[in-house]
């Protein structure tokens, strides 16, 4: 150990150059090989049964997400210019390479199945744009008479009409998104043109989120530098501490690039974690160094650094290793991006440790001892702060009931809040309520069935199941039940709708016949007729060619998880009746996949959080050779996590992938604070053998560093509250909250528990034996 330190301190330049050299290599790989993963399907575990099924069903029925373009004309859409725009826009969309011709549906392309006195016609609503009043009225009547179009493609008040362009998950790109928006803009005025649908929401999010982050991150880092400087009062220490973070981020992303692991959306949380955790080591090291220099003003550079390493390497290594192990526990997640997040954050934490123990000492040797700039008043201030810390510690120790009561109250509220925590896989609700995208969505939802879809897949045990009148009638009944019971479900579409329409049309448009025919032969003959006269491609979106599987599409006015789950609950109530007929129910579509995916992430997050807690307690117990200390050390972590979830529940912030991951910070930061604090407490307890002195000194040494660390990170992340993108605001608030509760928990309840258990004031052996006897 000493040899190693000697080597380092005698040849600091060599160590620095080696580290910088490796950093340069990682930096270059990061620059050249990093790849963002934008295909959301790649995020999902492909071997999970729900995803396997959904992907299969998407293939059977060609299920895709729809981009919805709405044209609004307050004077009514039956106007030549509006109808021309529908036609032109439809044709432009059909010509886009990302969109298949058949995947564009509008009044211009829709099939009009009509009955006449002596027959059936499958026609288009218009080819040439109608100009005369008579022709326009004629079109209006045709639309009104067709329930497959009226209210679906044309709003019932006849002021809005939509064009739906279905696109595959893999075809959507940023470039396509911008091209699409530009195309739609060309048709603006006097008609208003809106664009919505899941691909647009996802596209806007993928565009806005990072754009906002690019703007905010420099400010965050600026504030962190500023506060770091105010705390350390020295340019060199600030620079060295900051570089530890920067290099750990570069190494981490460099390694990801080297191993060809793409950057996922959650990977953007890695720098967040590394900033919060990485600055801690530096602050603790410099804090110790300053104290040493204050007590030994005549010490040489080498003496000071040697003391710093000797005294601090243990807590730094302990904190880093425990934090890393805590993050590694995320590999239990079924979701690859989360696994990678855990592994690479752990790596980053260890790199930060390496840099703290090598780069900072080497830097000090090379640049000279940092002497904090202090004015005379500052010394007083310092003394005042010390006085406050002492008083605070004494107060906590004397009025124990306040802390205990507060903790109980906080735990109680957190439990109430935690029960209210709900998971939301919604994309739309991540946006500002008055943002353009939310308003557009609301507008279209108020005129049509809904911008979001849930696909229900029914699977029979034999061919031609979906030609049976009983099965089809049950299917239609389920559609009606869901639509009737849930206002959020605006519409649904299935094979039943085709048959109802055909039956009506074949009976001279009599509304009495708008139902499923009673005979299987007639159903088969209608279907044959449709295949012969219409576009069978449309039919294969609701049923497979062997009539063994059917797809019902429900349209929802929200992509909120609660809405989806309610619809699923009503559908599930039909399961027994379908099972009697040998039919299985399953679900598909991107909305459903997002729902399952979010559940998976959280399930994984909660188990790995519990797992990491167990590991952390075990490691702490091992390091401090006391199970009680392990438990005490875990208290701030548990409290931080509880408060984090509790506040989310109370403030109605839904859990999502990012907000769930923030709870990992609780582990990372909680351990740091606990280890530093307990380590100092132990050392001072040995040195002074006086409880009062120990608390004063510990507060002075560790308490100070902890408060500095919390201040720096909180100040930095509070900047995100000014972000224009709500998820980034939530991120800033929650990281700050977690830092604050970790800090407060450490210096109050954890400290108090150390105090009341008389830890380190008997021989450690006795303590262990006593505790083990009790338990």
């Amino acid at each position: 150990m000493i040899h190693w330190i000697d080597q380092l301190l005698n040849k600091p330049l060599r160590a620095l150059l080696i580290l910088l050299g490796i950093s340069a290599v990682f930096f270059v790989t990061m620059r050249n090989n990093s790849r963002m993963e934008t295909d959301l399907d790649k995020y999902m575990p492909q071997n999970h049964p729900a995803f396997i099924y959904s992907n299969q069903a998407e293939d059977w029925f060609d299920i895709k997400d729809g981009i919805i373009i709405a044209l609004e004309n307050p004077q009514g859409i039956y106007h030549p210019t509006t109808l021309r725009k529908v036609k032109d826009l439809t044709r432009k969309l059909q010509k886009m390479p990302e969109i298949e011709k058949n995947d564009v549906t509008s009044l211009y392309t829709a099939d009009n199945i009509v009955g006449t006195e002596d027959g059936l016609d499958v026609k288009s609503f218009y080819r040439r744009v109608p100009e005369s009043d008579e022709a326009l009225n004629n079109l209006r009547e045709k639309v009104r008479a067709n329930e497959m179009v009226y209210g679906r493609l044309v709003s019932r008040d006849e002021t809005v009409t939509i064009i739906i362009a279905r696109v595959g998950d893999d075809t959507f790109s940023q470039e396509f998104y911008h091209r699409l928006k530009a195309l739609v803009k060309e048709y603006e005025g006097p008609e208003k043109v809106y664009i919505a649908g899941r691909p647009i929401v996802e596209g806007t999010m993928a565009y806005l989120g990072p754009k906002d982050m690019k703007r905010m991150v420099p400010i965050v880092i600026g504030v962190i530098i500023l506060v770091l400087y105010l705390v350390l009062r020295n340019v060199r220490s600030t620079l060295l501490t900051l570089l530890v973070v920067v290099f750990s981020v570069i190494w981490t992303f460099g390694l990801m690039a080297l191993l060809e692991v793409p950057i996922y959306a959650v990977s953007t949380m890695i720098p967040v974690m590394l900033i919060a955790i990485g600055v801690a080591d530096g602050i603790h090291l410099f804090s110790h160094l300053y104290l040493f220099l204050k007590e030994n003003p005549q010490a040489t550079k080498k003496e000071a650094v040697v003391d710093m390493i000797r005294e601090m390497w243990r807590p730094v290594v302990m904190t880093s290793v425990t934090t890393a192990v805590g993050f590694v526990s995320l590999v239990t997640s079924q979701v690859y991006p989360i696994k990678y997040f855990g592994l690479f954050t752990a790596f980053g934490v260890l790199v930060a440790m390496l840099f703290s123990l090598v780069f900072i000492p080497a830097g000090i040797m090379l640049l000279g001892l940092p002497r904090p700039h202090k004015k005379i008043e500052d010394v007083d201030e310092d003394r005042e702060a010390d006085l406050f810390a002492h008083k605070f510690a004494e107060g906590i120790a004397r009025k124990k009931w306040i802390t205990f009561l507060a903790v109980h109250a906080v735990v109680l509220f957190s439990i109430i809040g935690m029960n209210r925590v709900w998971i939301n896989s919604s994309f739309l609700e991540k946006f500002e309520k008055d943002s353009e995208i939310v308003q557009t969505d609301r507008f279209i939802n108020s005129h049509f069935g809904g911008t979001n879809t849930l696909n229900v897949i029914l699977e029979g045990d034999e061919e031609d199941t979906f030609k049976q009148p009983a099965v089809l009638t049950e299917m239609v009944r389920m559609q009606e039940a869901v639509q009737h019971q849930l206002p959020v479900v605006g519409n649904s579409f299935s094979l039943g709708d085709y048959l109802k329409r055909m039956n009506k049309v074949m009976h001279a448009d009599s509304a009495r016949y708008e139902r499923i025919p009673d005979s299987q032969n007639l159903i088969a003959q209608y279907l044959l007729l449709y295949e012969m006269s219409g576009d069978p491609e449309n039919l294969w979106q609701v049923v497979t060619e062997d009539y063994q599987k059917a797809n019902i599409t429900f349209q929802l006015k929200s992509d909120n998880s609660r809405a989806l789950k309610k619809a699923i609950a009503v559908i599930e109530s039909f399961r027994p009746r379908f099972e009697e007929q040998g039919i299985q129910i399953n679900y598909a579509g991107s909305g459903y996949k997002a729902l399952v995916f979010t559940d998976l992430i959280l399930e994984g997050q909660i188990t790995s959080l519990l797992l990491s807690l167990v590991i952390v307690i075990a490691l702490l117990a091992l390091m401090f050779r006391s199970f009680t200390v392990g438990l005490i050390g875990a208290v701030p972590i548990i409290l931080t996590a509880m408060i984090s979830f509790g506040v989310m529940g109370l403030l109605n912030i839904p859990l999502s992938t990012t907000t769930a991951l923030i709870s990992s910070i609780a582990v990372g930061i909680g351990i740091d604070y606990a280890v530093h604090f307990i380590e100092r407490y132990r050392i001072y307890a040995r040195q002074t053998e006086s409880k009062v002195e120990t608390i004063k000194l510990t507060m002075h040494h560790s308490g100070r560093a902890i408060i500095f660390n919390a201040l720096v990170v909180i100040a930095g992340f509070l900047v995100l509250l000014f972000s224009v993108f709500p998820p980034n605001r939530v991120l800033g608030a929650l990281v700050s909250l977690n830092m604050f509760t970790s800090f407060l928990g450490t210096i109050t309840i954890m400290f108090l528990l150390l105090y009341v258990t008389n830890m380190y004031f008997k021989t450690p052996k006795e303590t262990i034996i006593n505790k083990e006897d009790k338990s």
Partner: protein
């Protein structure tokens, strides 16, 4: 003397004509006309198996009895479904008018409904009974509707063929071009490739089997493969009878109702 002049004239003309034949190869248009005008009888009665194969390899089979008769101005076709059982006796009748722009008349009889309905379709681009054939692919497209060009000559399935590219004169036709392999002397299009509006390969038609029946080359099995959707339709004829005398009253609504007994 008059007769002599006439005979001489004929001989000279004939000699020139023969000479022209020998020296000048057929133009693309002439080849296409030969295919279009290849006689195949006025009447056909046959059993048609339509096999639809989707991209997953699932097959659906329809058995149909069909009668076709050429009445000069109008070609009439009537089809009775034999299988699957739930559509048995569903009848479909089509009258196609050859020398006018009039749309085809189409009727369908649904036995479960006991009603005949007229059906009509907007365009000839519609697919025939959910198969990969459009009505246009089934009907003979008139050679003068396209501009033809001989690309090359090559041997296909042991037959020496002309390979002819046809580009429609009409600008918004469903195909941007087709390429046909035509067997020399038999004037049968052995293979045809269809290219969509964007010029991408859409479908390939292959003649799998043809026979000489009553002195006509009759195509007995064709396969249309949509390469973009990976969907295939096979049309197979059996029990073919040519010019065996189909009564005209078969092509009536009364017969549609009566069905195949």
């Amino acid at each position: 003397m008059k007769i002599f002049k006439f005979v001489m004239g004929m001989l000279i003309m004939g000699w020139f004509a023969l000479d022209g034949m020998a020296q000048q190869p057929l133009t693309a248009m002439q080849i296409m006309e030969k295919v279009y005008n290849r006689p195949d009888g006025n009447e056909m009665e046959a059993r048609l198996s339509m096999i639809l194969i989707n991209s997953r390899g699932n097959q659906r089979v329809r058995e149909i009895k069909q009668y076709i008769k050429d009445f000069g101005d109008v070609e009439k076709r009537i089809m009775f479904f034999l299988k699957p059982a739930d559509v048995r006796n569903t009848a479909f009748m089509n009258w196609s008018y050859k020398h006018s722009d009039k749309d085809d008349d189409q009727w369908i009889y649904l036995p479960a409904l006991k009603k005949i309905k007229r059906i009509s379709s907007d365009s000839k681009g519609d697919y025939f009974m959910g198969s990969d054939f459009t009505y246009d692919d089934l009907g003979d497209r008139k050679p003068e509707e396209d501009r033809h060009r001989i690309l090359r000559e090559e041997v296909l399935d042991g037959e020496s063929c002309y390979v002819i590219e046809s580009i429609p004169l009409e600008s918004d036709y469903m195909y941007s071009r087709t390429v046909t392999w035509i067997v020399k002397d038999k004037w049968i299009g052995l293979k045809k490739e269809f290219y969509d509006e964007d010029g991408d390969h859409l479908k390939t038609l292959r003649i799998k089997k043809y026979e000489k029946i009553k002195g006509y080359w009759i195509i007995l099995e064709t396969e249309m493969h949509n390469v973009q959707k990976n969907h295939t339709t096979i049309m197979r004829l059996s029990d073919v009878q040519i010019d065996a005398g189909i009564p005209a009253n078969i092509f009536t609504e009364r017969m549609m109702r009566r069905g195949m007994r």
